[in-house]
């Protein structure tokens, strides 16, 4: 048994060495062969694009290559990239597009995806545009979540409306909206507790929070942003689906894109749920929020990790 698992490992090492060589060679202008397609499949799957999206994409590409009579793989590169960019552009739209007095933004997601840090970054983003921002600490559940948001509030220089740990998050939102209205706030960002989409009662709680905002402000929340961790695999689609069903997600922030993961699951999400990606985050600092650029994102998919590794 020991020897077998050793074999297993050395087998993998080999596959991996050839992996990087293959990516480098993929678009170098070799003849398009069966191997080219296999390499492409590997590349897309390893970027977390998922089996269905990958197979579908390869089929489309094969048809195109035949139709246009393309012979070498370099020609395939721009075809593929354009196609991927188009997928994302089809569903893209600006974040908070409408003029209004008070914008309410509800931020949701599974545990640890990066919600609170994203809110801090968004707070800075809005403040830098000269808008008056307020934060609502509606994660009253996780230990020290309120403190965490308060620290960020201080660093950005925006106020935080908070109750005691364990308080009703709906009540926090209620107060925060009241405060926003009386203080002439333009953007209210609501931090919610991380929750797995499989938890029925917690999803219900989120619906309630949303209901509170809806009642107080016309058409609120004006964005319901799902924060996805870029290192997440196929479950990201399930999360997006479930959060959308429950609270009507309007767009996505893809966090932790500074990791070596590629975040390829957003293609499946774009295709199935037509959700735009508003921002990506690329680090833990306040400035590391970037407006989503489909072209740059697609280029990133084809960058070698080994270059980023050490």
């Amino acid at each position: 048994m020991v020897t077998r698992s050793k074999n297993f490992r050395s087998g993998l090492a080999k596959t991996r060495r050839s992996f990087f060589a293959k990516i480098a060679g993929l678009f170098r202008g070799n003849q398009i062969t069966d191997e080219t397609w296999e390499e492409l499949e590997m590349l897309l799957i390893q970027a977390d694009m998922g089996v269905d999206t990958t197979l579908e994409l390869i089929e489309t590409m094969r048809e195109e290559v035949t139709r246009r009579g393309l012979k070498d793989s370099a020609q395939m590169e721009s075809l593929l990239k354009d196609h991927l960019v188009a997928l994302l552009e089809q569903v893209s739209r600006p974040y908070l597009p409408d003029e209004r007095m008070l914008h309410v933004v509800l931020v949701v997601g599974v545990n640890g995806s990066g919600k609170t840090t994203t809110i801090a970054k968004l707070a800075k983003f809005h403040r830098d545009r000269g808008e008056k921002v307020l934060l609502a600490a509606a994660d009253t559940f996780r230990a020290a979540a309120i403190d965490q948001l308060k620290v960020w509030g201080q660093r950005v220089g925006v106020d935080v409306v908070a109750h005691q740990p364990g308080a009703d998050p709906g009540a926090v939102v209620f107060d925060a909206i009241r405060a926003s209205q009386s203080r002439g706030i333009q953007v209210l960002l609501i931090d919610t507790a991380g929750r797995l989409h499989t938890k029925h009662n917690l999803m219900q709680e989120l619906r309630k929070i949303k209901g509170v905002a809806q009642k107080q402000v016309h058409q609120a929340p004006h964005e319901t942003v799902l924060v996805l961790d870029a290192t997440t695999g196929q479950n990201a689609l399930v999360q997006a689906r479930k959060f959308s069903e429950e609270v009507g997600v309007t767009g996505i922030v893809l966090a932790k894109l500074d990791s070596t993961a590629k975040g390829g699951m957003v293609f499946a999400i774009a295709q199935e749920l037509k959700l735009p990606i508003f921002f990506v985050t690329v680090g833990e600092g306040l400035d590391q929020l970037v407006v989503f650029d489909p072209r740059a994102f697609v280029e990133g998919l084809f960058e070698e990790n080994s270059r980023r590794l050490r």
Partner: protein, 443 residues
């Protein structure tokens, strides 16, 4: 077992069966399905490739080609190989002179702090005296988070704010532990990317000054293809001794754990299954293997059912089923309990083979079915519920009106209930009911 995958393999073989004997190429076709299932479960591409190669060797070698039930044989081989690859559940190593230090490492947001608290509770139950150490000085309020958890579970926390360097904090904690007779030190380190050079150097430093018994990589069950690269690099820098999978209470298939185990050989030690400090489970290879293959999660279903139905209720129900004295009143009581377990769709998703089915059901059809059934029964008088035979045409019209349904719907329910009773009587006589028939109200 593993019905979703079984069905696909069966299909693959069926297409081939007409040709007579299975050939090597045919097995290849079936293995394609295995391969796709594993990729869908986030098992790393390289690992899948290597894994299917191994399965192929065994499958082509002998068993499958000669087998009369090739589908089952393939599944059996896959399952066996998966379990073997996942390895035996491993215990924590607390040997040597106390205090034994356990160091938790991992990416941002993987669940280290919560896991530290869970391990503290677990170890205390084993008679240890744990000390939690707040070595994350970077994330805002990380120290406060651990302190709060420490208070909740009543385990002391060593913290020095955010101005002292983490290796220094750990060293001081070790001294304190020696001085005050703590037997286990749980180091909660900051989340970091494996490519963050200064932060990885800091981990090496902590490892050097503390010489921990265990360096545990905490990894999110939802992690995708990069899990392997992450684990390999952490392993290279700080020599991991174990793996902990978190957020297993979600519905991610958890292929990341298999990938890491396959590539690094590090044993899996625990699984986090909820947000409370008590939500910690040992690792069961067969459970994880089934989950990765998309077999559904019958065990979770059983656990939820146990939560929803009290022991007493269960006994009463069993008695009724046995004596076939099960009434519509009992039926609605059961329905209510089932609905407490969560949305029906989700519950069905845990049953093997039902995952595909629930995907095909138009959203909420089943959930709505339950609501209608409940409404109809609610509109009956207690007498009618106990003895549905008395429900004549005019009663049916009244019930339909009261529940906002039609007489047809009422008829349908009564018919189904009648079938169910017949079935119970048969079961009583030792005949077994047929699968779906057990739940006629689902149709």
């Amino acid at each position: 077992m593993f019905e979703a995958l079984s069905e696909k393999i069966q299909e693959a073989f069926q297409k081939l069966a007409r040709k007579g004997r299975l050939s090597e190429a045919d097995v290849q076709q079936a293995l394609r399905e295995v391969r796709l299932a594993l990729l869908e479960a986030d098992v790393n591409y390289r690992v899948v490739k290597e894994f299917t190669k191994r399965v192929r060797e065994r499958a082509v070698g002998e068993e499958v080609l000669r087998s009369l039930t090739p589908t089952q044989t393939v599944i059996k081989i896959v399952h066996e190989e998966l379990i073997q690859l996942l390895g035996e559940p491993a215990k924590l190593d607390l040997g040597g002179t106390p205090p034994a230090a356990l160091m938790l490492v991992g990416l941002q947001g993987s669940g280290k702090t919560t896991m530290a608290a869970k391990l503290a509770v677990y170890l205390r139950k084993q008679g240890q005296r744990p000390l939690l150490v707040a070595a994350d000085t970077y994330r805002p309020a990380a120290v406060a988070q651990l302190e709060t958890l420490g208070k909740q579970i009543n385990v002391p926390v060593h913290s020095e704010g955010t101005k002292v360097a983490p290796p220094e904090i750990c060293r001081n904690a070790l001294r304190k532990a020696r001085r005050e007779g703590f037997t286990v030190l749980l180091l909660d380190t900051a989340g970091r990317l494996q490519i963050d050079e200064p932060m990885m150097a800091e981990l090496e430093e902590i490892r050097r000054v503390i010489n921990p018994r265990e360096v545990l990589l905490v990894i999110d069950a939802m992690t995708g293809q990069e899990a392997v690269a992450v684990a390999e690099e952490f392993n290279r820098r700080v020599a991991l001794t174990g793996l902990i999978l978190t957020k297993v209470d979600g519905d991610a298939r958890g292929g990341a754990a298999l990938s890491i185990r396959a590539v690094t050989g590090i044993p899996i030690k625990f699984m986090g299954v909820g947000e409370r400090p008590s939500d910690l489970e040992p690792f069961y290879p067969d459970r994880l293997a089934s989950r990765i293959l998309g077999m559904g999660d019958v065990l979770t279903l059983i656990e939820r059912a146990e939560e929803a139905f009290s022991e007493e209720q269960a006994c009463k129900m069993e008695e009724k089923l046995r004596t076939a004295s099960f009434t519509l009143e009992d039926f609605i009581e059961q329905l209510r309990a089932i609905r407490q377990m969560g949305p029906l769709e989700e519950l069905l998703g845990m049953i093997p083979g039902f995952q595909q089915l629930t995907k095909q059901l138009p959203a909420e059809v089943t959930e709505r079915g339950l609501v209608v059934t409940e409404a109809i029964i609610n509109s009956m008088t207690p007498e009618e519920r106990r003895n549905p035979k008395i429900i004549n045409a005019s009663r049916k019209r009244r019930i339909a009106r009261g529940s906002g349904t039609t007489v047809q719907q009422v008829n349908q329910l009564l018919r189904q209930f009648n079938q169910m009773q017949q079935m119970m009587k048969r079961m009583q006589k030792g005949q077994r009911g047929r699968g779906m028939g057990m739940m006629p109200w689902l149709r």
